[in-house]
């Protein structure tokens, strides 16, 4: 049992090590928001002329090819009812909106380091291209791996250490900090 759980603990780490590192490093950058700002580094706005009778899909495709726009697509509606095409990837957001019959407005925002880290940390959802599907799968695997680390870790410590006093103190410290914080939130909020 001990050897099996040790192997599970170890191989779970091997499978999600890079993703877990990414989540904890990007999370660290996010909690240091005052140092790593998330504002856009550059914003460029340009208006491109298009053929009047072209379909919207063809127009968007042509603009994407011309400006080399890549990213996960999401379509929203503007206040005047027109479709707005958003292409996002970490630290990058392109917005394409048909403003008139013969023009498309393209707004491209490039983010700072803080914004790239924030976008990596928050990327989720089983939708989009195959990379997003694999990403979402790795996201879930990382969460499950964390649960496995926590439980198998406690088991392995329990089996490994003869004198459990120090370990119990650390586990208690974790419990007290968490319970105190939850109760404190209930008290003051």
């Amino acid at each position: 049992m001990y050897t099996t759980l040790r192997k599970i603990h170890l191989y779970c780490c091997f499978i999600v090590a890079t993703f877990l590192l990414m989540y904890f490093v990007t999370g660290g950058v996010m909690v240091m928001e005052s140092v790593f700002h998330r504002k856009s580094k550059h914003t460029t706005v340009q208006t491109l002329a298009i053929e009047r009778n072209e379909s919207e899909q063809k127009v968007i495709q042509a603009v994407r090819s011309k400006l080399d726009i890549e990213g996960r697509l999401r379509i929203t509606k503007s206040s005047d009812g027109n479709s707005v095409y958003h292409f996002r990837r970490p630290g990058y957001h392109a917005e394409l909106a048909r403003t008139k019959e013969d023009s498309v407005q393209v707004t491209i925002r490039e983010g700072t380091f803080g914004s790239v880290m924030n976008d990596f940390h928050r990327l989720r959802g089983y939708e989009g291209t195959w990379t997003h599907m694999v990403w979402a799968c790795m996201y879930d695997l990382s969460c499950v791996a964390l649960l496995i680390f926590a439980f198998t870790g406690v088991y392995l410590w329990w089996k490994l250490e003869r004198n459990k006093k120090t370990g119990v103190i650390f586990l208690l410290a974790s419990t007290v900090t968490t319970v105190f914080t939850v109760l404190y939130i209930y008290q003051v909020c």
Partner: protein, 199 residues
């Protein structure tokens, strides 16, 4: 005591210190991804209170929102995009914290505030512990969780590296381990790179 023994102890005790944080981080992440229904709760209550400001403050909606929050002794952040004075002169603001959303209207003439409190439930409180980026107004002790979050992050990063190092120091056969480690690291880096470049 050798280096290996020290690293193993830090790995073990550090892991135990992070136990609850890891559970909270994992469950809240799963909730952010799958939006679990059982974690959603909403209970609304209303009350009215007379307000007497004990300090003078500058004109403006932001200053009024902050002073109202302090007079009502509510913990949380006021939302500037929900803060405004309507055409009849009634002031509106919203204060968010992990447990409750307060929607406040304040009548400057009668000096009374109506407060709609929406209790968001136990899981909202737990999920809020996922990461704490800054100080919460009127909740000074939240700084402990903020610091605890930093400590846990450092421990997890250390534990991944030390776990691999401890495995390397073992005498067991490592072919399968190396294959999984290198294979998954390559796949993950390629995925990160593709996502960064192509979305």
């Amino acid at each position: 005591m050798g280096v290996r023994s020290w690293i193993l102890k830090i790995h073990l005790y550090g892991g135990l210190l992070c136990f609850w944080y890891l559970l909270i981080f994992a469950f809240s992440s799963l909730h952010y991804h799958h939006d679990f229904d059982f974690m959603k709760e909403s209970e609304i209550s209303n009350e009215s209170r007379p307000i007497t400001f004990h300090q003078k403050f500058e004109e403006g909606d932001s200053a009024l929102a902050i002073n109202l929050q302090n007079e009502l002794n509510l913990a949380g952040w006021y939302l500037f995009w929900e803060t405004y004075t309507d055409s009849s002169g009634i002031f509106h603001t919203e204060i968010q914290n992990p447990k409750t959303t307060y929607r406040i209207t304040y009548d400057r003439i009668s000096s009374s505030a109506s407060i709609e409190s929406e209790y968001k439930g136990f899981w909202s409180v737990v999920n809020a512990l996922h990461g704490f980026a800054g100080k919460m107004p009127n909740a000074p002790f939240m700084i402990f969780w903020h610091l605890f979050t930093y400590v846990c992050m450092l421990i997890v990063i250390f534990s991944i590296a030390s776990g691999i190092w401890l495995w390397l120091k073992n005498r067991e056969d490592k072919v399968v381990g190396w294959a999984i480690l290198i294979g998954m690291m390559t796949v993950s880096f390629l995925l990160l790179l593709t996502t960064y470049l192509k979305g």
